[in-house]
């Protein structure tokens, strides 16, 4: 009998296949088992513990299993804490905006005007600072921004000021500047990746059709790299929300962020209060990740 399509379609197989044993069906996933142990036991379980802790309380340095919403209530009823939360979101938003504004021209220049040959080393140069210790990069700024720091001395030297500027350090502007410095490579490289795939001929086409350069950018370029912009925003905004070291080293009392508050609670044995705030931040981040999951998947994280 010829194996024509009509002959083969609809024919039941000669033997009913037995379901493969469980071990064989699970075998392809075996590689996950160590990861399940590591992440299940030491990432998810502790986070679950934090969730639980946020609903219990601490009495005399010990955690007591009384179910209560007091931790959350305490947080939201203390004006300073709520202000710190808003300040953190504000700092994250400003940092993200400024970082993208700073990174976009660079990425644009690299993608459009730089020869491919020298593009690669320039890109590597952007990321080189990222390979050094995060702590060192933050501390290096304390010598720059201080009262007797490099920046003040330089400004005095060229005669712009006569007294050192004291607001440069231990205040919110210092925190924002340092954060921009830290997260710039993320934004720049993500924007570059997006701009590199853009077809620049479209810009020429738009201008040939009479559009001024600015309109060509806003109406042709930007809409197409919007996924890239979204990813950059995510890659900067989310980590900044959880920042702790930068505000601690350069923020003083006025640059406090929610991360410092969490650490303060945990180091002061107020585990349950710290857990409640941690949960708030984690929830915010997870929500953002879920809302923007499509854009994050499109990003070249897995090489596709």
């Amino acid at each position: 009998m010829a194996l024509t399509p009509e002959a083969t379609v609809g024919r039941a197989p000669a033997v009913t296949p037995r379901r493969a044993p469980l071990s064989r069906r699970l075998a392809p996933y075996a590689g996950f088992s160590p990861a399940v142990v590591l992440f299940g036991g030491f990432f998810l379980a502790p986070l679950a513990l934090i969730v639980l802790y946020s609903f219990w309380e601490v009495i005399n340095y010990n955690v007591v299993h009384n179910w209560t919403l007091d931790n959350y209530h305490y947080f939201f009823s203390t004006p300073t804490y709520v202000k710190t939360l808003w300040d953190t979101i504000w700092v994250a938003a400003v940092t993200t905006a400024l970082t993208l504004l700073a990174a976009f021209p660079l990425a644009y220049w690299l993608a459009r005007y730089v020869r491919p040959a020298i593009r690669r080393p320039l890109l590597v140069l952007i990321i080189v600072p990222f390979w050094t210790s995060y702590l060192l990069r933050v501390t290096s700024w304390t010598t720059i921004l201080g009262q007797k720091g490099v920046l003040n001395r330089f400004l005095e030297l060229i005669g712009v000021i006569h007294q050192p500027l004291s607001f440069l350090l231990y205040d919110r502007p210092a925190v924002i500047v340092v954060l921009i410095y830290l997260y710039f490579p993320f934004a720049a490289l993500t924007l570059y990746a997006s701009l590199e795939r853009f077809d620049w001929m479209q810009m020429r086409a738009a201008m040939d059709l009479g559009a001024p350069p600015r309109a060509a950018i806003t109406r042709v370029l930007l809409p197409q790299i919007r996924p890239g912009i979204t990813v950059s925003v995510i890659f900067v905004f989310i980590p900044v929300l959880g920042e702790y070291l930068t505000p601690q080293l350069v923020g003083g009392t006025r640059g406090v962020m929610i991360g410092n508050l969490i650490v303060n609670f945990f180091q002061g044995a107020e585990y349950t209060r710290g857990a409640a705030i941690s949960l708030l931040i984690a929830a915010m981040i997870v929500v953002l990740l879920v809302v923007f999951r499509k854009q994050l998947d499109v990003a070249d994280t897995y090489g596709r």
Binding site: I50, G149, G242, Y302
Partner: protein, 286 residues
């Protein structure tokens, strides 16, 4: 094709391009100035580590090398980094295979979940593990708790690197090997692993560097010990002495060297192997 034909908006365009170049120069200066200053001050004879630079000296490097607290912190840092690298590389490579090759029901969800330790603030990993270890497991904090904490943070990076390589892996090579009679172990050992070897190696080096520099998670989980970043952080509270700058410079140099090795070494190894294979081939006279 560059597409910049002479057109009527030339002067305007030159201005724009000039501005972009100027901005790029400023950005690169902004990115490197703090690090260069950090390195510069490590040679500063001025003991307060700030301007003016009163002289050039290697004294602080000498002091750093002889400081036994630094030696002690270095030992801890290296041993922790080694353990973390082994764990992250093994766990990460193993996890990359099913991530890429198995028929996963919620592939993007699992991928997102595996990158969650990177996206959540390190602070959260630190405090959650702290409470988990002390409150539930009643373990005392030690270097081992640090290793676990760092491994949780570092492993997703290894997964990313290896999975990325696996995605682009040409399965037909495996099929060819199977057709030639290789069983799955042989395929793994002689086809897959050698070819993704460079990626695993890069992932391992990446893990090592991440562990060397890791600070926030370590701060919560280390107990009485010291790693180099913790030591530097402690010294920063004293004020950044040039000795700390010297240590910082050495740390920067180490990180950069190791990362550079991740790029250079696999290529070099490949060339060596190819050379050996060629010279091992009997001369065919062509």
């Amino acid at each position: 094709m560059a597409g910049e034909a002479a057109d009527h908006v030339a002067p305007h365009k030159h201005l724009a391009r000039g501005a972009l170049v100027a901005w790029a120069v400023f950005i690169y200066f902004f990115l490197f100035a703090p690090i260069i200053l950090l390195v510069l001050f490590s040679f500063n004879a001025n003991q307060y580590g700030t301007l003016p630079i009163t002289g050039w000296t290697l004294h602080w490097y000498h002091a750093a090398f002889n400081d036994f607290q630094i030696q002690d912190a270095l030992k801890t840092t290296l041993s922790v980094a080694l353990e973390v690298t082994i764990i992250a590389t093994v766990v990460g490579t193993a996890a990359a295979f099913p991530l890429v090759r198995a028929n996963l029901p919620f592939r993007s969800g699992i991928r997102a979940a595996l990158t969650l330790p990177i996206m959540l603030p390190g602070l959260l990993i630190g405090v959650s593990l702290l409470t988990f270890f002390t409150g539930v497991l009643h373990l005392t904090l030690s270097n081992q708790t640090v290793v676990i904490g760092q491994a949780v943070y570092v492993t997703p990076f290894v997964i990313l690197v290896v999975a990325s390589r696996l995605e682009g892996f040409d399965r037909s090579l495996e099929r060819a090997a199977a057709d030639l009679g290789a069983n799955s172990y042989q395929r793994l050992r002689h086809v897959v692993l050698p070819l993704i070897g460079p990626a695993i190696f890069a992932g391992a080096l990446f893990a090592f560097t991440l562990s060397l520099d890791e600070f926030v998670i370590t701060l919560f989980l280390i107990g009485g010990g010291n790693t180099l970043p913790i030591y530097i952080y402690t010294q920063v509270k004293f004020g950044i002495t040039p000795e700390v700058n010297a240590l910082a410079t050495l740390l920067i140099a180490a990180s950069l060297t190791i990362t550079a090795a991740a790029f250079v070494v696999p290529g070099a190894l490949r060339r060596v192997r190819r050379g050996r294979r060629i010279s091992a081939r009997p001369a065919t006279g062509a």
